[in-house]
């Protein structure tokens, strides 16, 4: 019996029998109102001075009200007897716009200091038309950078800085249809597909969707998964358990046979497409191909995926590509030493940073990020339990959600391994978690004659459980907003800061750079490899966490002269985002004042440029401070 058949005796304006009810949804009013409120909120946001909670403290109440209204609209729409696909798509897109278009609108420059490095690599490849694998690891995985450099030429822009800040919005919108295809192929109930899509956008706090190889790798990985789930997944349809092996073999026969109008079978074409997309993924990102192949490999081990040889074929592509690059990666990133150290590899970056004193606001931001990750995984466990009767579907989702953890046995990926695991676990974790937000339809096998129909019970549960979706979504979004925008006081770069650093790197003679701390828009030009960087303050830097003395400028000049032997200039850069970062990570503002005062008084360092956002000093070539000792400590400069 269908749900619709059980609703015929309802009357009134909001009854399903009323034609107006069918045509008009409350969300038709709520969604546009929430979008207008969001636009008003964004327009009223003044980001000149950000508080300890970043953007959150300057966003006006109407912004938050807009998101709350969208949640209400989503909740109402999710409880409708029959979901409207286009309305749900507009809600999903609206949520992405509200969350991911806010930053590029309110900030004139892209967030995250590491964004500027990717801009520099794109610029390098566009200018040189080649790669140099001795510069850094990015040059060994050039797929994204090559595409972006090509894009710049065709689009007629001189630098990705012109559009890079919009990447998060584009990527998050791009993954929505891929996720929908995946959930459809897994035969998730429609309501849960949409709930999962909304949860994905609301829980992706790790911000790996910025203008970066990881963002492109996410799209390619989900594309691979969509094709695999549609054409090679050997699970059951939702609520209809059938033998996976027989189903897979039936599917395979159907796809492997050529149709009368086909020259090549559909399955052969799909294999070619998969190899093509996976090769692009391999050339684009270091770790993503291994996570994908791990997920597929575990699926094939438990017979949820055919053919079993495909993960091996894909893995061979990645390994053959990696072998010639292994010596460089191992010497710089210690691949071999990280193998097997699972528990240290699993530690998030916040653990490494917690050695310094951190203000309570920053701790809260970190706790919200950690809490959101834990919440999604806990919800996914609960969802898996609720869905346990669906057998192969839940088994596939659990495997896909948790198999990325396996890669942590092989390395920490620069303390970011756990973030990548979360990123690759998220599409599957939210698919499981969606069962908590929305009721799971009972399997037909459990329906009993002579009792209330399954569809009727489902509809009553929908009403009773209508609060689940808005409550869970609201909690997830609160945590997300804090985790995603809470660090913006140092994640954002001012126009003056970007202008000063960019024009300096475009024109200055190459030489080592002392960055007060590493958080700055460094390395965003085609000459980025000419300016290796060493940090002055912070854990593992030249001074480590020690307070600088008033002669710090002379100390730096001494070290720079030893490094360059007087053949090159050396530079010191202090920017506003460095100072903001330092305040959150144990470097007081007074340290920066001591450094700037020492440089200003120094007879060795010459001021190159200064504005509200940055101060840059140069130690000219052949400058050796008094008492110069060529055997003293030499800093370790690296191309960041």
């Amino acid at each position: 019996m269908s749900v619709a058949q059980n609703q015929g005796n309802r009357t009134g304006f909001l009854s399903p029998g009323n034609p107006l009810y069918k045509q008009w949804h409350i969300s038709d009013a709520l969604l546009p109102i929430s979008l207008v409120m969001w636009a008003v909120g964004v327009a009223r946001t003044d980001t000149k001075v950000l508080g300890p909670y970043g953007l959150l403290s300057v966003l006006p109440p109407v912004f938050y009200a807009a998101i709350a209204l969208l949640i209400v609209s989503v909740a109402i729409e999710l409880t409708r007897q029959q979901l409207s696909h286009w309305r749900m798509s507009v809600h999903a897109a609206a949520l992405v716009v509200m969350l991911y278009a806010t930053a590029p609108i309110v900030y004139s420059q892209g967030r995250y200091s590491w964004l500027y490095k990717t801009v520099g690599v794109v610029q390098y490849m566009g200018a040189h038309g080649s790669v140099n694998q001795q510069i850094d690891i990015y040059q060994s995985w050039p797929g994204f950078f090559a595409l972006a450099a090509w894009f710049d030429k065709v689009a007629g822009v001189s630098s990705p800085l012109a559009y890079a800040k919009w990447a998060q919005l584009v990527v998050e919108l791009a993954v929505l249809p891929l996720l929908y295809l995946i959930y459809e192929a897994l035969s998730l109930p429609t309501r849960q597909r949409w709930a999962a899509l909304l949860l994905y956008s609301a829980a992706n706090w790790v911000a790996q969707d910025y203008f970066s190889p990881q963002a492109l790798a996410t799209i390619l990985s989900l594309g691979i998964m969509a094709m695999v789930m549609r054409w090679m997944y050997a699970g059951n349809s939702w609520g209809r358990y059938v033998s996976g092996r027989h189903r897979a073999e039936d599917k395979f026969r159907a796809y492997a046979d050529k149709q009368p109008d086909e020259r090549v079978s559909h399955l052969t074409l799909t294999f070619i497409a998969l190899i093509l997309v996976y090769s692009a993924l391999t050339y684009t990102h270091e770790i993503s191909p291994y996570i994908v192949v791990t997920q597929l490999g575990v699926l094939s081990v438990v017979s949820l995926f055919r053919p079993r040889w495909l993960p091996f074929a894909l893995g061979a592509v990645a390994i053959i590509y990696f072998i010639p690059r292994f010596p460089y990666v191992n010497s710089h990133w210690g691949v071999l030493s990280a193998i097997g150290t699972f528990f240290s590899n699993v530690a998030p970056p916040s653990v490494a940073e917690s050695s310094t004193s951190i203000p309570s606001s920053q701790l809260l931001v970190q706790h919200c990020a950690d809490g959101l990750s834990v919440l999604i995984w806990v919800l996914s466990f609960v969802g898996a339990w609720l869905r346990r009767r669906s057998r192969r579907t839940v088994a596939a989702l659990v495997i896909l959600a948790y198999s990325p953890l396996i890669v942590l046995f092989a390395g920490a990926y620069g303390d970011e391994g756990i973030l990548r695991v979360y990123l690759f676990s998220l599409p599957w974790s939210v698919a499981l978690a969606a069962a908590v937000l929305t009721p799971t339809p009972g399997l037909p096998i459990k329906s009993r004659q002579g009792r209330e129909g399954g569809a009727s019970r489902l509809f009553r549960r929908l009403r009773v459980e209508a609060l689940r979706a808005p409550v869970v979504l609201a909690v997830v979004l609160v945590l997300f907003l804090v985790a995603f925008f809470g660090d913006d006081q140092w994640n954002t770069m001012s126009d003056s800061e970007v202008t000063a650093v960019t024009s300096f790197e475009q024109t200055a003679p190459g030489g080592p750079v002392f960055a007060a701390v590493g958080n700055a828009p460094l390395s965003d030009t085609a000459r980025y490899n000419l300016f290796p960087v060493a940090s002055v303050f912070g854990s593992g830097s030249i001074l480590d966490t020690k307070k600088p003395q008033s002669d710090i400028a002379t100390v730096l000049a001494d070290q720079a002269a030893r490094y360059t032997s007087g053949d090159q200039p050396a530079y010191v850069i202090v920017t506003s985002s460095m100072i903001a970062y330092g305040q959150d990570y144990g470097t007081p503002a007074s340290y920066f004042s001591i450094l700037l005062n020492s440089l200003a008084r120094s007879k060795y360092w010459k001021l190159v440029t200064t504005n509200h956002g940055a101060a840059i000093y140069e130690l000219p070539p052949k400058t050796f401070p008094e008492g110069f000792n060529k055997n003293g400590p030499t800093p370790y400069f690296v191309v960041p």
Partner: protein, 112 residues
Amino acid sequence: MLDAAAIVLSVLLLALVFVGWSGPLRVLLTAAFAFFVPGRAIVGNWSRMGQWSEAAVSMVLSLAILVLLTTVMLWIHAWHPLGLFQAVAGLSLVGLIIGMARRRRRTHGPEQ
């Protein structure tokens, strides 16, 4: 509709590149091209894939093809981004037109 949109988009972008016009429109058209057109030319000729996903798989294939081609150009020191664009756009137009013609023939049947 999608094929027609891809054709219009490609022709417009080719024209803008040819005359050297720069601006936000060209950036948007380039993004739309990179995210859709080459893959659509393939999916438009791949009936089973096209019936399942008209846009999303087109996007993935487009990005993958462009990543592969641009990366190979870098590796072999033959960096000609505009030449590659013209070649990909031209081949895509051919693929799109063939795909449209094939679907039209399948829909209307062979002419008597």
